[in-house]
């Protein structure tokens, strides 16, 4: 890079001699500015690594404590207990679904009546509260104000009565009576209308009646539920002791760290009094090495009990599966029962394996550094700030990011490329001059504005649409959560369409016109030319556009933070296409949500930087691949 290599600089003209060093200084000034980009990139990498790499040893230590304190041991049993609770819940749901299904008519009637009443109170509630609050405020009984409020209330009441929900399961007569009773309600009446309560009572009575023939099932479920109580009490007993141990170990760790920081602060303190004070504090905070052997031995004494509880639970479970009815009459109930029956063998198999696992568990088995890396990369839980144990598993976040990107790209690729093809090949110049700026202007919309629209408008609209009867065939409808993968994906699609559109349009534009001309000269129609000649020629450019769109989607933060629903869980893929309507959390979202809140330098803080490193690497790979395609097109 030395200028001597440049032939023009080798022998400067003597007129230039005086300005020579000056010129060179200017040149180096500009060069150093250009070099700044490299410096920034290097700084990004260095600082991400500096903060991030400390994560793995820190997490290793946490996992070590998890093992030494015996939390891991308790979790072996707890896993089965949780599975037992889940199974109980499924059976319970099946039971209630059966009952509710059998008295569906009463349920519908009761629900419709109360829905009608609720819709009415929703609308009139605020004005009614005003009337009530102010007639109670005896201190200043202002009649004029009260009159105003009452008039308001009446107005709102008339409006609400004019737009009541449909009640297909109530007779005309009943509906009219109900509306009449609502109309004639006193302002300060707090009870539900008589008809609503009657229907509710009828429903309860029907439930009781339908429960009669199902008593066998009820007692089976109850006996299954109580079969877990032995294990449950054992687990909670052990939980208390291991938490105490863990706190002791962590306390010692903290004290040790404190001592070091206090000593460091003492050595830095200028005031001798202050220094002495800090030194004394440091000395007193010298921790005894916590005793972990004793509690662990006590814990391990529970082994036989644990195994016994597991065997008992297994025996009970094998017995109970035989007592369950083979099927239930109601569709939903039968589905749930089938699901329970399906997972039952796995549950029993797990229970059978557990005693071996309990016996094999060793508190002093080492936790290698690779464990912390692999449990980060393949961990299924991201649990932080909890009482029990923090886990940093990337999978739920990565899955969320990926699912959102899939939705966004599935929507954006056809529209973006389709629009590009249309604008470039088919549109009149007038259309081009209108459509292009509009689509390009979408790019200028800040992402936080899209997130705002998503949370305030789009999510609610989507949920209302999902309640339409004509759309119930779509899996996942009606929506459980208004903020979900699909909501976020739609907004991100809108964001990435301009990127894909303009890059794809460029790519198509760059195809030499001779190709199209030759094709047309051979008699091909315009559509044939476009799809058989132009698009194949621009293919790698279009692919690059798609990849860059993907890079944009996966790196986007504000929309997913606001709209994705923030549930840190791998989506439940058994729901089929309905999976796309579940909430999730993302790689970018978790950084934005948690970075401002975690103590600096903690393991959690560092974990967020590791997520950043991962994101950085993924996006760079995507972009590098895209640019390779672009370069390929140029040649």
């Amino acid at each position: 890079m030395s200028p001597e290599e440049n032939p023009s600089d080798l022998a400067p003209h003597r007129f230039q001699k005086r300005g020579f060093s000056y010129e060179r200084a200017i040149k180096y000034f500009f060069a150093s500015n250009a070099g700044l980009t490299i410096v920034i990139l290097a700084l990004i990498i260095i600082f991400l690594l500096k903060e991030g790499l400390g994560f793995f040893p820190g997490y290793q230590r946490e996992l070590q404590v998890y093992r030494i304190a015996g939390l891991e041991f308790v979790d072996i049993s707890r896993k089965n207990l949780t599975a037992h609770e889940q199974l109980t819940s499924v059976l319970n749901r099946a039971y209630y679904a059966e009952i509710n299904g059998r008295c569906i008519k009463q349920m519908r009637r009761s629900q419709e009546a109360s829905a009608l009443f609720n819709a009415y109170t929703d609308q009139t509630g605020p004005t009614r509260d005003l009337v009530l609050n102010n007639s109670q405020a005896a201190s200043s009984p202002n009649s004029e104000m009260l009159k105003n409020l009452k008039a308001n209330y009446e107005q709102q009441k008339a409006k609400a009565l004019a737009s009541l929900t449909a009640t297909p399961h109530l007779t005309q007569m009943e509906r009219r009576d109900l509306i009449e009773s609502v109309r004639s309600r006193a302002v300060n009446d707090t009870d539900d209308p008589l008809f609503v309560t009657t229907l509710a009572e009828e429903f309860t009575a029907a439930q009781h009646k339908q429960a009669e023939p199902l008593q066998a099932l009820r007692s089976t479920i109850d006996s299954f539920s109580s079969a877990g109580s032995e294990l449950s009490s054992l687990v909670s007993e052990m939980t208390e002791s291991v938490i105490a141990t863990k706190e002791k170990i962590q306390g010692a760790d903290i004290l040790e760290k404190d001592r070091k920081t206090l000593l460091a602060a003492a050595s830095g303190a200028k005031d001798p009094v202050e220094r002495e004070k800090l030194m004394t504090e440091a000395r007193t905070s010298l921790a005894d090495k916590p005793d972990v052997e004793g509690p662990i031995q006590l814990l391990l004494e529970h082994r036989p009990d644990c195994i016994k509880a597991h065997t008992a639970l297994r025996d009970a479970s094998t017995r109970i599966i035989g007592q369950l009815p083979s099927s239930l009459t109601q569709l939903e109930a039968a589905r749930l029962l089938k699901a329970a029956r399906h997972s039952w063998p796995f549950f029993i198999a797990d229970l059978e394996k557990t005693p071996a696992a309990i016996n094999a568990w060793k508190p002093d088995a080492p936790v290698p550094l690779t464990d912390s890396i692999s449990s980060f990369l393949t961990g299924k839980d991201w649990v932080t700030g909890g009482e029990w144990q923090d886990f940093y598993g990337i999978l739920p976040l990565a899955a969320g990011s990926l699912m959102i990107s899939i939705v966004a790209l599935v929507l954006a690729i056809p529209t973006g490329i389709g629009a590009a093809v249309y604008v470039n090949q088919f549109a009149s110049p007038w259309e081009q001059s209108v459509v292009k700026p509009i689509i390009e202007f979408i790019q200028a919309i800040p992402s936080v504005v899209l997130g705002f629209i998503g949370i305030l408008v789009f999510g609610t609209v989507l949920r209302d649409i999902s309640l339409w009867d004509s759309l119930q065939w779509i899996p996942g409808f009606p929506l459980e959560e208004r903020l979900n993968i699909f909501t976020a994906g739609c907004l991100l699609a809108l964001m990435s369409i301009p990127t894909i559109f303009s890059l794809a349009e460029d790519a198509i534009n760059n195809v030499p016109s001779a190709y199209a001309e030759a094709s047309e000269a051979l008699g091909a129609s315009q559509v044939q030319t476009t799809f058989r000649v132009v698009i194949p020629a621009a293919f790698s450019g279009i692919l690059a556009a798609v990849l860059l769109g993907f890079g944009r989607v996966i790196g986007e933060t504000m929309v997913v933070l606001l709209v994705a629903g923030n549930r840190i869980k791998i989506p439940d893929f058994t729901a089929g296409l309905g999976t796309f309507f579940q909430p999730c959390h993302t790689l970018t979202g978790i950084i934005a949500q948690e970075l401002g809140e975690v103590p600096m330098g903690s393991v959690h803080y560092r974990a967020l930087f590791v997520v950043g490193i991962l994101l950085f690497a993924v996006v760079l790979t995507i972009n590098a691949t895209a640019h390779r395609f672009v370069n390929k097109m140029k040649h």
Binding site: Y96, I243, G251, Q593
Partner: protein, 269 residues
């Protein structure tokens, strides 16, 4: 030499964040509603030249900010932990605790839910994910959606201790940025359940649940199972502005605002 030292003085000023501003950081429960209003009425009561910066990201953020001197007052909906206190200590900050109000964590459900009361055991089972469907406890059938605060919140941890017996939240729970957002989502989801501070329990579209027969209203604060104290933390040698603000908060007018916003003044219990 003189000019150089002048330059350095100027440069040093850059490094000192404006000292006359009163920066308050920490809990969302306190910082989203109560503290801004306290600040505004504090200014209205003749302290016009004090500048406030309020960031309410969660109780956990209060103590590092106090330690680093980026905040003069920390808000927390839970007691300071020992390690946080020591951390501040190592940075030369002795923090002093000022209880400012009582709060009750209220369980809220959608207004149209037929449920009005739950037992503490049912609440624990719902929030730990053992009960997944409303029909299991006598509601209209529908999968339960749990809305919780995010992990840095003091309420998140308090709730785990008070209501869930220390067990973890299920992964199916949705993490929300603040009390208002929980209330808003519950108001929009007929199968939703969540917890909020007392001041947010009257949000339209939601209703607060009676726990073990005790209604979550201020009068029941002593009996209610999920009640707690909220604190402001300040260094033991606060700046003049911080000191004035703290004494305003603890004074009669300050505590009136506490009551008005929906918390329970310290002296009421």
């Amino acid at each position: 030499m003189k000019t150089i030292s002048k330059f350095f003085t100027a440069a040093a000023m850059i490094s000192m964040a404006g000292a006359q501003t009163l920066s308050i950081k920490g809990s969302d429960t306190l910082g989203a509603k109560l503290v801004p209003q306290l600040a505004e009425s504090f200014k209205a009561s003749g302290n016009k030249n004090v500048k406030f910066e309020i960031a309410a990201e969660g109780s956990t953020t209060a103590f590092p900010a106090l330690a680093n001197g980026t905040a003069q007052i920390g808000m927390s909906s839970r007691k300071v932990k020992d390690d946080e206190r020591t951390f501040c200590r190592t940075k030369g900050v002795y923090i002093k605790e000022h209880p400012i109000c009582h709060d009750m964590i209220c369980v809220i459900v959608n207004k149209n839910s037929p449920l009005a009361k739950l037992t503490a055991d049912q609440v624990a089972k719902i929030f730990t994910g053992q009960i997944k469907d409303w029909s299991e406890i006598g509601g209209a059938p529908g999968p339960i959606s749990i809305y919780t605060r995010n992990t840095s919140s003091g309420t998140y941890k308090d709730w785990q201790k008070l209501a869930m017996g220390g067990r973890d939240y299920p992964s199916s729970s949705l993490k929300m940025a603040g009390n208002e957002q929980i209330a808003q989502e519950v108001a929009k989801n007929k199968n939703g359940i969540g917890y909020v501070g007392l001041a947010y329990s009257k949000t339209s579209g939601t209703k607060a649940i009676t726990i073990d027969g005790i209604e979550p209203v201020a009068a029941n604060a002593k009996k209610y199972p999920y009640a707690r104290l909220c604190y402001l933390y300040a260094p033991d040698k606060p700046s003049a502005e911080a000191d004035a603000f703290m004494s305003y908060v603890e004074s009669g007018p300050g505590q009136d605002i506490v009551r008005k916003v929906g918390f329970i003044p310290v002296k009421d219990l």
